[in-house]
Amino acid sequence: MYVEGAAQPGSRTNPERRAQGTIAPFQYLAIVAQLAVLTVLLRQFQIESGGFLRLALLTFAGFAVHAVLPLRSRLPFFLALSLGGIVLVMNVWNAAWIVTIGLMLVGLCHLPIAFRWRSALLIVAGVVLAAMRARWVPAPVSDAIWPILGSMFMFRTIVYMYDLSHASRPASAVSTLAYFFMLPNACFPLFPVVDSEAFKRNYFKTDAYRTYQRGIDWMVRGVIHLLLYRYIYYELALAPAEIISPAMLVQYLVTNFLLYLRVSGLFHLIVGMLYLFGFELPETHHRYLLAASFTDFWRRINIYWKDFMQKVFYYPAVFRLKSLGMTRAMVLGTLWVFAMTWALHAYQWFWLRGTMLLAPQDVLFWAILAVLVVINGLIELRHPPKRTLSGADQNWRRLLSRAARTYATFWVICIIWSFWTAESVTSWLSMWSALRGEYTIKVLLFPSLILAVIILGTFESHMPRGKGTLRLHSHTRDLAVTVASMLVLIAVSVEAISTQVGPQFATMITSLRSGRLSRLDVAKLERGYYENLLSVDQFNSQLWEVYSKRPETWLDVRGTALKRFTADFGQMELIPSFASQTNYGTVSINRWGMRDQDYSETPPQNTFRMAMLGASTVMGWGVGDGETFESLMEARLNHDGPRGRYSRYEILNFGVPGYQPPQDLVSVDKAMRFKPNAVIYVATGRELSRAADYLAEVVHKRIAIPYAPLAHVVAKAGLTADLDDVTAARQLLPYRGELLASTYGLIAARIRAGGATPVFVFLPQVQAGSWDEETPETLRIAAAAGFIVIDLSNVFAGQSIESIRLAEWDDHPNAKGHRLVADRLYDAISRRPDILPARGEHQLAHR
């Protein structure tokens, strides 16, 4: 390596290059103005995270300074900005670790020893770091650094070492460090594999103004991709269990693939940002929906990955195998590339998520794609595709033929993509049973839309492009489109404007303005509280990004766990007579297995006793003893409650984390032993789906169902133990209402048989979401079952989410949330003489 300045752009010995990177003042102002508008756009639509917005502000402000610096100062400035970005996003301590480990790795690349020994040392270092990542050895670092450190070094080190071994022109220290720590990476664990030679070669290669403008064009394109992704993610994406018709199957295939828009959107944002600093990198994707063959698809989607594979694996393999003949060498080289893609995909998964990816559908997906690309490659060898320098083709027959091939390629890709992202091979296979469903005109909707897009896109792609003046006008056109897009999007994000279009449009825009989890991912996150998070599958999963922020020891109980397994229908219970310190305070389980103070089995004289059933929110996940809404309400009743026959109030907390509605049948039987006057069943949303999921689980585990009405529903749904989750959920779908009604009916009947009053309390999630879809039917079923229904749906209204929930990855209410619930519930119940006896009134005596 050598010191920056000797042979980099802007050298004093090269007057032309000194002029590189300079733009006129009005051009500078035009770029800065657009960046200001872009900032507003990013903020209006809450693109990505708060961390990204801060990084974007740093980037744009950095550009404003960078663009006026002398060329030789810009790369060091970019490096400083990049390091600052890491501190901004990751905090000082984590940034220090990332930079320290990174410098060590870069240092290993440049040790004055033979290349093979440097490679060996890098591998050893990688193994040690991997052991830390996997927690096989203790590491003095936060888990938060691994995805970012991994994304900076896991592939770039390979490319960098490859280039070092063949470098004709050594890189400067600043250039090397800027390459590894490049600015946008601090925010994006999923990052394009930027080629080190391209990074150097394309630095201020052409006109700076055009470079900066292209950066903005690409960032805006990225935002549009992300908004399209959001619309699909929130409104159109389906869970496999929901697919019951051919139309839904087609919708699933298309939308599941189009979720990839998040990756293409992010990559456009990332590379667009790099353009602001003079790095004129290639495009990351090129109209991948218009791929006319599988080789074409491979060349268009994630181009950086394709180039990386081609450079480091494909060409070396083919050149080595040339003696076998070019055709054989190419076939073997292609198979080698896909084998390495599968392996490196698993390698990437490890660094980003800390676990190994060993799924049969992952292996099969790459194998299938490899075979398809090989076949296409052999066809192309015999029949090379028509190329033109301009890309234009005005033969409409050829274009229609291309559109037809593109259409076919698209559907095959959608099908194998759905296989790749399926939870299991059996669940993917069971999904196709939807083809036996009812065929309606809706089955043509998505195929027609896709066909229209492909035909229009094919013809547009092959229109003759202008040269000279006409090309200049196309730059002006691109600028106009970029600016207009930003202004239109900002305009429609303003409620006063979007409502002018119509309420549905305004609602859609409002939903696109936040980066929340979809209804499907919220359901997965809830399940993730109680089980190892299942298939947090795709790399672009927002769910994974939320969940990956969760500390490993989040709310962990120190020492023994809170629950133990039982052999009955409930499967688990709290461990009696157990107390432990947790990260959120003391958790005390009394001798009866309730997270509560101790009580006698028989109520003391003149005591009004209530039992409370529910799951983790009732139990008080995330708050200490005495902070649960149950204990707060009990204290308030004893302080302020009506006096008459009863001088004392007790509320017994039977909440168990992870309990689903049918499991409360076990809880209610326990509760009735304590002779309560009233039993409060607390529901927290998604009761229908959670009840169905639980029945599917017990059937799968071959656990006996001791409740005849539930067993009857299960039999009607045709559930058997050998069904996969997706099929079981699909078969139960038409019976969810009946299942919940049976569950509630049984609970209410048991309560009344014990002489107590059944009360149903609906408690919302701390933030609004699609979980609420089931609420109206749930309330209706509860009322029909004979409960007194208290709907606390608006208990958190007016509160900011951050002030009442535990964390971004944990939507349980915190201590403040519990206080709000306690106050509202106290008010609601104390005004109900049918639940709580008023002063001077009497209730039925205990038996």
């Binding site: 063949h166 060409y315 050149f319 070019m326 192309e380 090379p384 033109t388 320098l389």
Partner: protein
């Protein structure tokens, strides 16, 4: 000599990958790899042509855009191999 090399390379590219294209449109500086004219299959065919025509041995890393993106760079590469 380098003009002969460039002319031969140009002729090969036009014949194999751009049939019917106006030869004047293909200049010594037209981007071939970054411009999408040469994909991996075409690059390998061109490599074979260069090796057979001038008896040079190319390495895998020499198919990078640095050496292969334009006719002038390709000609320069062949010239350096023959020197």
């Amino acid at each position: 000599m380098s003009d002969d090399i460039a002319a031969a390379v140009k002729g090969f590219i036009l014949e194999q990958f751009l049939p019917g294209e106006n030869p004047d449109e293909l200049t010594p500086e037209t981007p071939l790899i970054t411009g999408g004219i040469l994909d991996s299959i075409a690059t390998l065919k061109l490599t074979m042509f260069l090796e057979e025509r001038w008896g040079v041995a190319l390495a895998a890393h020499e198919t990078s855009p640095e050496h292969f993106d334009t006719i002038s760079r390709i000609a320069q590469l062949v010239r350096s191999k023959r020197a």
